[in-house]
Amino acid sequence: MRIPCPYCGERDAHEFSYLGDATLTRPDPAAADAEQAFHDYVYLRDNPAGAHEEWWYHANGCRQWLRVTRDTRTHAISGAAPARKSGEPA
């Protein structure tokens, strides 16, 4: 599997480490339903068969956390973008 790192260029996936679903947002710990929200955030996953947005960390490259879009049925990767918006260098 080859991941198109926006900084390093296309690299084999073994340079990266994986952290799953990138559509989740860390809940507000002060919110009334914080426990419920954190439970869902930490444990529940859509786990789709198809397009999946997921976190990959380029541990052996530029050390960026990338938001990669990949089809879980074919492993085809349609894009990879840094977690930080531009103007927010790592």
Partner: protein, 416 residues
């Protein structure tokens, strides 16, 4: 037909004319007391024990392809009950006990072979962790033996003892562990369930659930709607997809685990060996192939295949542990889709949706669990209460914090 030396003799003489189908290829009826979604080992075992133990025989097993075509037929056939945590150990030991009587129970030779599993350790810390586990096993009445380097050398003299990056210091042995012929387990349960009146419906894909109010009262399938008193889902690898049809999100990711087999060889590895300093485990099938594997690839996947880095990693581990295998050849590799749960342990529970029951989250350990999984799921379906040995496999444990995390890596499925 009952299988015996005699039946083989008779058919040998009659030119093999007398054999009959091992199970009926049933057409779906309009309704059943229980529908089991998923014709893998777990689903078929559940049906078998529902009929055998609980007398519930108006049961259908619905399989989208042919039975045993999922993980039941794609694993490395290891059976063991060498678990650490109280939530797991009694269950897997119950499974081991069922394995030990399975062939006579089913009148089908599943080649349950208790040649032992040896987990190697390479440091004092690992030794102590295995001692903790071995002692936990003893507390649960399970056999375990802590072996030193000399003991391991006597068992497997060909391992790399003298030039290892991570020298072998010893191992934890469960002598009653071993392997079983995975396909035969599926066919044996199918035959057993079929003879008790269970319908095994193949090439029938579930496309949705029938509802009455909140409750689920059946399934929509590629072969029409089928009503049921209870719907039991046992589709490891696809659990999230099926649960989504019922509006459920599960604490689970689907990952690919690769498995490997070598060309056939004369006997060289008697039992199962796991390498403690790398991701590698190995056994040898009765046909002579070395059956081995390692880590999951580590990314969500529904494709039944993996990639080279893990293949190389597994073989590096193999060569590090057994340098004599360098000239042996990898014959086939393939991938299975695992339900990787958030704490690495399974779920056998009712769901928040009335009428829907879930058997899922087996990670890469589902095969060895087949008999007890079927037994306990059947118990839950028949009695409405979890079986004693599966009481910890609750869906709400992530909410309550009663996690069963053998590895202690937390809510990151690809690390379990």
């Amino acid at each position: 037909m009952r299988y015996s030396f005699l039946s083989i003799l008779a058919n040998g003489l009659s030119g093999q004319k007398g054999w009959t189908p091992t199970w009926r290829d049933a057409a779906p009826k309009p309704g059943y007391d229980v529908i089991i979604v998923g014709g893998g080992g777990h689903g078929l075992a559940t049906a078998y024990y529902l009929a055998k133990v609980h007398g519930i025989r108006n049961v259908a097993v619905i399989e989208k392809s042919v039975i045993g075509s999922g993980n039941a037929g794609r694993n490395t056939t290891i059976i063991r009950s060498n678990y650490l945590l109280p939530g797991n150990e009694p269950f897997y030991e119950w499974s081991m006990k069922l394995w030990e009587g399975l062939e006579q129970e089913l009148n089908y030779n599943a080649m349950v072979s208790q040649r032992g599993i040896l987990n190697l350790f390479h440091s004092d810390a690992q030794r102590d962790a295995y001692a903790r586990r071995g002692n936990a096993m003893r507390l649960a009445g399970v056999d375990s033996k802590l072996m030193d380097k000399a003991g391991v050398r006597a068992m497997y003299p060909f391992l790399n003892f003298d030039n290892a990056r991570f020298p072998i210091q010893g191992g934890l042995l469960q002598a009653r562990a071993g392997t079983a012929r995975h396909d035969a387990v599926v066919w044996g349960y199918a035959r057993g369930a079929d003879r008790l009146g269970v319908d095994i419906v193949q090439n029938c894909e579930v496309t949705g659930f029938l509802r009455e109010g909140d409750a689920i009262v059946g399934v929509e399938t590629s072969r029409g709607d089928i009503r049921a008193g209870k719907v039991a889902v046992a589709v490891a690898g696809s659990s999230s997809r099926v649960a989504a049809m019922a509006g459920l999100r599960l604490p689970m990711e689907s990952h690919v685990l690769q498995a490997f087999v070598s060309e056939g060889l004369k006997p060289m590895v008697d039992g199962v060996i796991t390498f403690g300093a790398g991701h590698f485990y190995i056994s040898q099938s009765d046909k002579g192939g070395l059956v081995f594997g390692g880590d999951i690839d580590g990314y969500n996947s529904y494709a039944q295949r993996g990639n080279l880095p893990v293949i190389e990693d597994v073989c590096e581990g193999g060569m590090a542990l057994m340098p004599r295998i360098g000239r042996l050849r990898l014959l086939r590799h393939w991938g299975g889709i695992m339900d990787m749960s958030m704490d690495g342990s399974p779920i056998i529970d009712r769901t928040p949706v009335p009428g829907l029951y879930l058997n899922a989250g087996w990670c890469y350990g589902g095969f060895k669990a087949t008999p007890a999984s079927g037994w306990c799921f059947a118990h839950l379906l028949a009695t409405g209460a979890p079986h004693d040995t599966a009481g910890a496999f609750r869906l709400d444990r992530f909410r309550t914090g009663h996690l069963i995390d053998e590895k202690g890596v937390g809510a990151q499925p690809n690390l379990h």
